[in-house]
Symmetry: C2
Subunit: 324 residues, 2 copies
């Protein structure tokens, strides 16, 4: 025997399918007694709604898609964003699926009512295609100028955050600050780079590294910094290798050389000494992305651009020699 249908429930409760439908969704239009008997019948039969039928009728999929930046391996930050999306959507009865990165992700767009994505790169042809396809799409961080505008944006003020940590380092005695910058093909990467460029409070030295640099690449980048007394490691996880480099060269982290991480990643939390880092709250960001998209889909469209607050956690790695 197969799964019981709404008709089965209605029959058992002695009401119409229409009434049963309303009762099960806790909507108005049925008497309390009808509702009770429907619920009872449903429980007895073990009724679960047929999602496909409901979706067909409602002309939607009940699912949103998550498009993550392509890359061999998933950074912790994005994984957490994805979980945030999943939970927030789930709380509103909507499922979230991650678009496959192999093959054409667009094949799964029809499975969804809309897409959330994050850190769109101007080099990413798939992201461009998605933006051009016209599906509702909400992005974390702004989208580079040359790409079509998304439906909504949830953004962090990276210019301000980068200035903040630069000022902090100066306050702790730094005079020559090295920065390991990611590629500037994303808006946030470009904003951080601009903040460093325009900062006048100290000498800054920028070195570009990959978005997901290897340990060797990071060490090589560190070696190119000349006589710095502070380093800001921007890409996710980079601080770990920078710390290794500094120790290998007998620098005391937090006094000889200050170290700040732009991503408060799991790896950083396991470092010693604890590293000053920007808590990007990926999970909450994911939740905001999902909520924003669902609001758009519901028509209860809010502001298309909303800012997302993040803050620095100052820890021992930037204590400095001035204060003890």
């Amino acid at each position: 025997m197969s799964r019981p249908t709404l008709r089965d429930v209605a029959t058992r409760a002695g009401v119409s399918t229409a009434a049963a439908s309303l009762a099960l969704r806790d909507l108005a239009g049925v008497s309390a007694s009808t509702r009770e008997s429907v619920l009872e019948a449903a429980a007895e039969l073990g009724y679960v709604v047929n999602v496909a039928a409901r979706n067909l009728r409602r002309q939607r999929t009940g699912t949103i898609g998550i498009y993550l930046p392509p890359g061999v391996t998933l950074q912790w930050y994005y994984a957490d964003v994805a979980l945030g999306v999943t939970d927030a959507a789930g709380a509103r009865g909507v499922a979230a699926l991650i678009l496959p990165q192999s093959g054409d992700p667009r094949a799964f767009v029809p499975y969804t009512d809309g897409i959330v994505t994050i850190d769109v790169s101007r080099e990413d042809a798939t992201a461009r295609a998605l933006l051009e396809s016209g599906v509702p799409i909400v992005t974390g961080e702004a989208v580079p100028e040359e790409l079509p505008r998304p439906t909504g944006v949830v953004f962090v003020d990276h210019y301000a955050r980068a200035r903040e940590v630069l000022a902090h380092l100066v306050g702790r005695g730094a005079a020559r600050i090295g920065v390991l910058l990611p590629p500037d093909d994303t808006v946030w990467g470009a904003e951080v780079a601009r903040a460093v460029r325009e900062f006048g409070g100290a000498e800054t030295q920028s070195v570009s590294v990959a978005f997901s640099p290897t340990s060797d690449e990071i060490r090589a980048a560190c070696a190119r910094l000349v006589d710095v007394d502070a380093i800001i490691a921007i890409p996710d996880g980079t601080a770990t290798s920078v710390a290794g480099f500094l120790r290998a060269h007998d620098h005391e982290i937090g006094s000889d050389v200050l170290l700040a991480s732009y991503t408060d990643t799991l790896a950083d939390r396991l470092l010693d000494p604890p590293v000053t880092a920007l808590d990007l709250r990926p999970r909450e960001l994911g939740a905001r992305l999902a909520t924003h998209l669902l609001d758009v889909l519901d028509g209860s469209a809010a502001n298309p651009h909303e800012e997302f607050d993040v803050e620095w956690h100052f820890r021992a790695s930037t204590r400095g020699r001035l204060i003890d």
Copy 2:
């Protein structure tokens, strides 16, 4: 105007919807000319199949669910497993969604045709409920005895792998080996613990830590190890903090004290020196889980238990003093 339907395509091509349906799915039963005109009409109209309608008709959802172990934060390993599932399922035209961890994950089971999960703990009531619910479910690693049997299992021989690294360390001169063990509420955790317990080639000292230990907890655990010359860090990411502890105590990693990580995690790869680690190939494991489940759903059921091979990558952190 809304999205074109199959009927629109058929009308335009001058054929029946039945023929159009076959042609679009590249099935037999239509002439070459019919197929061609259908494909042309579909392209012109920009036809995309209505997933909900197809699913309703086919009596399935075209989606599988991923249930990840509950926890505050996502370990890199699980994130990669999830991506592997997503890609492998996607290649077969099936979407994969992560069951929300907040709220009742079972609410989304009706959205799926089956579930994959991993590292089932005997303490996890939700996993138990899922296993009891009767949905097809394939697990990574075996399920503890006291829980219902899953439909399929893809497992690693952790007993053998743990012995392997113990023997390796002995071969590199270790005589007193400390092991940071995870809780044994999972089968794999228990298997590793058993391998350590039964190993006779050296003195072993086990210390239990949490599944996702904090840096402080790991350091405390290290401090309890007495005069060891090698440490195996089992939980994901733990090696980072162990390395920090060792350096803080002026131990040279790879000579004074050997260090092996049981999870070849991103964080470990950024460590210095490179850490000997077990490459668990999470992505491939995820792919195998998805494939296994889809085979079950197709009825082309393979072996319910299949082994998954992983191997150690021996690196500088276990070079030892013997060889130089």
